[in-house]
């Protein structure tokens, strides 16, 4: 297979920016290759991909140098319109890519733009709607579908343009695990069936690593690593310094290699990892020593004073479709709780009953002794603060300080008290320096901090954080979660986090509640919940990869929920020499 794409010393700087977004990149990609590009946010991944269909620099302006060739032709002579049929681009947020009134029209949009005859367009629509298995939705408006379904439709729309190169820019960051799997499976199918070249930008390496031929790691506009998955993943330490989190199975194998001086290859799939681990485990596991180590594992804190009591809670918008079916649970003062479950399982619906945005249609929710049926949202907002997923849904002031005072003013706090609280909260979150800035000039991460701070100024005891890590790179996710954790440990706030990231839930929570179809199917400590793998699978969730690795290798008791615990368990064993 010959060379298809070549970047020759390409640099690009956005208008008004000081530093180049892409800095002297030379790169070659062969026909039929599947390449993963990853790296921290702002590393230049999206810019690099957008150059392949000339949206950068055509739509943005800016300075570009160097040359890009596709099939030997310098692409600077083509327009975006022409490039669209050579490099098909799929973006992050599916709902921002829908252009048509029906699913069928959506898929036809690209071929129509090319001016193909109607018969040909209809056959392309039929072929690719079948490909993503969405025939029954052909007349439905795409805006009414779920995120995963929407991304499948947009994917089919790109496929129907039959480009030579498919570029998928974080196609799953807004999707739940089920939606992500759907999109990745489709990508794999296209790559195999159509023998096309694919470039994927993605942070979640674990789900995709076994499908790609090559990994390119970008950092600060440059290529830091470029090689086969096995080569690149063996540099896990350098990668973690850059801010790239390698799959947990690779972290374990790499750490064994380091500690024991072994040269085990970096595993690509879970079964490969399991086989490698099994090959070095002793015949007989040191059960007593493992139990002894297990007893030293961090035990979640125990709490017993309920702050929110949910009793036989039912909720519906439409009496024919009940969403919550008799939920019973308590949230304890001071705990860090994660609620997990796939989209549509009722996670967000249930937390909206805590601050009265939803009133129960049956049963009751008692917050600090007050039945939410008898209290306004404004009153409850002083007990339960709710941080929405996207900070842009709430920020409206031109100065950060005004944003923070909005809530307290609404509930009639005296000005003196407000000033004092704003300063305290700014210190708590670490945003004292930006209090006089315009929030719209700040980064998304800073806006997220402001959104949390704006909730904190209401001085709630419970803070609900809705999917705080969606669409963020691993480093940003940890920064956000560390901030939330600090509010819990240092300031005694009760935290409820909604997430589908199981390793985040494992790392930070005292307790996990798993929801499925409007009911609670499991609750307990992370260790207790992750033990129940089959039950989690029934809700399209799975325990962290490291938990599954050890379980499949035969280490089932105690259950390890993170890489450190796994390493502690393995340290009790006399590992065999590698084969």
């Amino acid at each position: 297979m010959g060379e298809l794409i070549r970047f020759d010393h390409v640099s690009y700087t956005y208008p008004g920016a000081d530093d180049p977004a892409v800095d002297d990149v030379s790169l070659s990609i062969n026909e039929g290759e599947i390449v993963l590009i990853t790296g921290p946010s702002g590393a230049g991944k999206t810019t690099l991909c957008s150059m392949l269909n000339r949206i950068v620099p055509e739509s943005y302006g800016g300075d570009i140098s160097g040359k890009i060739f596709i099939e030997g032709a310098d692409i600077s002579q083509y327009t975006i319109g022409q490039m669209a049929f050579i490099s098909g681009l799929l973006f992050q947020d599916p709902s921002g890519q829908l252009t048509s009134a029906t699913v069928g029209d959506e898929i036809a949009f690209g071929p129509e733009n090319k001016g193909l005859p109607v018969d040909k367009i209809n056959s392309l629509v039929d072929e690719y709607i079948g490909y993503v298995n969405m025939q029954k939705f052909i007349k439905r408006p795409p805006q009414a579908l779920s995120g995963g379904q929407q991304q499948s439709i947009v994917y089919a729309s790109v496929l129907a343009m039959e480009p030579e190169i498919y570029i998928l820019d974080e196609p799953t960051s807004n999707l739940d695990p089920l939606g992500s799997d759907l999109v990745f499976r489709l990508m794999k199918k296209v790559a195999t069936d159509k023998k096309k070249t694919a470039i994927i930008v993605e942070h979640k390496l674990e789900k995709i690593i076994d499908m790609v031929d090559r990994i390119i790691i970008m950092d600060k506009g440059k290529i830091a690593f470029n090689g086969t998955p096995k080569d690149v993943l063996s540099h896990y330490k350098e990668l973690s310094q850059i801010g790239v989190e390698v799959p947990q199975i690779d972290q374990v194998i790499n750490r064994i290699n380091e500690e024991k001086g072994y040269k085990l290859p970096a595993p690509i799939t879970l079964s490969e990892g399991v086989n490698e681990l099994k090959s070095i485990l002793p015949e007989k596991l040191p059960v007593d020593a493992m139990q002894a180590v297990g007893r030293t594992f961090k035990e979640p804190r125990k709490f017993d004073k309920p702050i929110i009591e949910v009793k036989d809670l039912h909720f519906y918008y439409n009496p024919e479709v009940e969403i919550l079916h008799g939920i019973n649970m308590d949230i304890y003062d001071g705990e860090f709780l994660s609620i997990v479950g796939q989209n549509g399982s009722g996670k967000t619906t249930i937390v909206k009953t805590f601050n009265g945005l939803h009133k129960p249609t049956g049963g009751s929710v008692i917050v600090k002794g007050v039945d939410t049926k008898n209290a306004t949202v404004a009153k409850l907002s002083r007990s339960v603060g709710y941080c929405f997923q996207n900070p842009d849904h709430q920020i409206f002031s031109s100065v950060v300080r005004d944003e923070l005072t909005y809530g307290p003013k609404n509930v009639g706090m005296p000005q003196e008290e407000i000033d004092k609280i704003v300063d305290e909260v700014a210190k708590m979150i670490g945003i004292e320096d930006i209090l006089d800035e315009n929030p719209y000039n700040l980064s998304k991460g800073q806006r997220q901090q402001i959104a949390v701070a704006a909730i904190l100024t209401m001085q709630p005891d419970v803070i609900v954080v809705d999917e705080p890590t969606t669409g963020q790179d691993p480093r940003q996710s940890h920064q956000m979660m560390d901030m939330v954790k600090k509010l819990n440990t240092d300031y005694g706030k009760t935290i409820v986090v909604i997430t589908h990231d199981m390793s985040i839930a494992a790392e930070y929570s005292d307790r996990i509640i798993t929801m499925h179809n409007g009911t609670i199917i499991a609750q307990g400590t992370p260790r207790e919940v992750f033990k129940e793998e089959e039950m989690l699978n029934s809700s399209n969730l799975e325990p962290p990869q490291v938990t599954r690795l050890l379980k499949r290798a035969g280490i089932t008791d105690p259950v390890a929920i993170d890489v450190d615990e796994a390493m502690q368990l393995l340290s009790t064993m006399d590992l065999k020499k590698e084969a």
């Binding site: 319109g81 669209a84 947020d93 709902s95 949009f109 001016g115 629509v125 805006q143 729309s157 409206f396």
Partner: protein
């Protein structure tokens, strides 16, 4: 299920241009017919059209309910400004405004016409898929850049509605109160909804612009294909002919004979 019925209905199957013509002619008829009793008959016909084309009473009520307040307002605001006939009987006075039959008939006529306009516009938009609007605009030689933009705008109304819903919830969670009776306070309370709403709309607009470029819209917009064709069929010509004849009759009677004025039916009734 209900929407399924509508999609199979006669009026849904018409060409979008026919539907636009119906809308236009009905507006003209509405302008000419000022008599409340005649307007009532037209409203009843619109109701029958709703029902005959798969709309349930519940759906019709959903459109009508928010209109009731405006209906009353129209009635009250209109009748003081109607000039009574010379020597017309004044029933009583409200705040020194004389209440006369002309006033009542004018208020009633205008309020009913207002309702009729909304009903017709609602009926026609509900039975016209947005894709059809784009095609109709293309036939009218609107440039594809504009027609596609209008089509996208229509499909994004529900998306933006959802976004605004989320923003309202987010601000309510910060103690915001949107229930104030004072209009100025109410407008001020909505600033925290309007600003993020605009910001998000602009961001979405940017995303969509990038997405349609990535899907080759700028390849050759003038010569792009449209997969769906619209064509005037027999039933369209029949409906157009019927509407034109109806319009001509009403226009003729109204202009030459002075029929359908505010007191038209009332005078007929009192004369006998």
């Amino acid at each position: 299920m209900e929407n399924n019925k509508i999609e199979k209905s006669f009026i849904y199957s018409l060409d979008p241009r026919t539907k636009m013509l119906i809308l236009l002619l009905m507006i003209f008829i509405g302008v000419m017919v000022m008599d409340p009793f005649c307007t009532l008959i037209i409203i009843f016909c619109v109701y029958l059209t709703y029902r005959a084309n798969g709309f349930s009473n519940k759906q019709v009520w959903k459109t009508t309910k928010p209109l009731l307040f405006a209906f009353v307002l129209f009635f009250i605001l209109n009748f003081p400004f109607a000039t009574p006939l010379p020597d017309e009987e004044v029933y009583f006075k409200v705040l020194s405004i004389p209440v006369t039959m002309t006033g009542i008939l004018t208020g009633l006529g205008n309020a009913l016409r207002f309702m009729m306009f909304i009903w017709i516009a609602d009926l026609i938009t509900q039975v016209t898929p947005t894709g059809d609007i784009v095609l109709a605009l293309n036939k009218a030689h609107v440039p594809p850049e504009a027609s596609i933009a209008i089509g996208i705008a229509f499909s994004y109304i529900p998306v933006l509605k959802k976004e605004i819903g989320t923003i309202i919830e987010a601000q309510k969670s910060r103690g915001a109160n949107f229930e104030s009776k004072n209009v100025f306070k109410k407008i001020k309370a909505y600033i925290p909804v309007i600003v993020p709403g605009l910001f998000i709309s602009i961001m979405r607009g940017r995303d969509i612009a990038r997405a349609i470029e990535a899907r080759g819209f700028t390849y050759d917009p003038v010569n792009r294909t449209y997969r769906n064709e619209i064509k005037l069929r027999g039933r369209d010509f029949a409906v157009i002919a019927f509407m034109l004849i109806l319009f001509c009759i009403i226009a003729y009677l109204s202009i030459t004979k002075g029929w359908f004025g505010t007191r038209f039916v009332y005078t007929l009734m009192t004369r006998s």
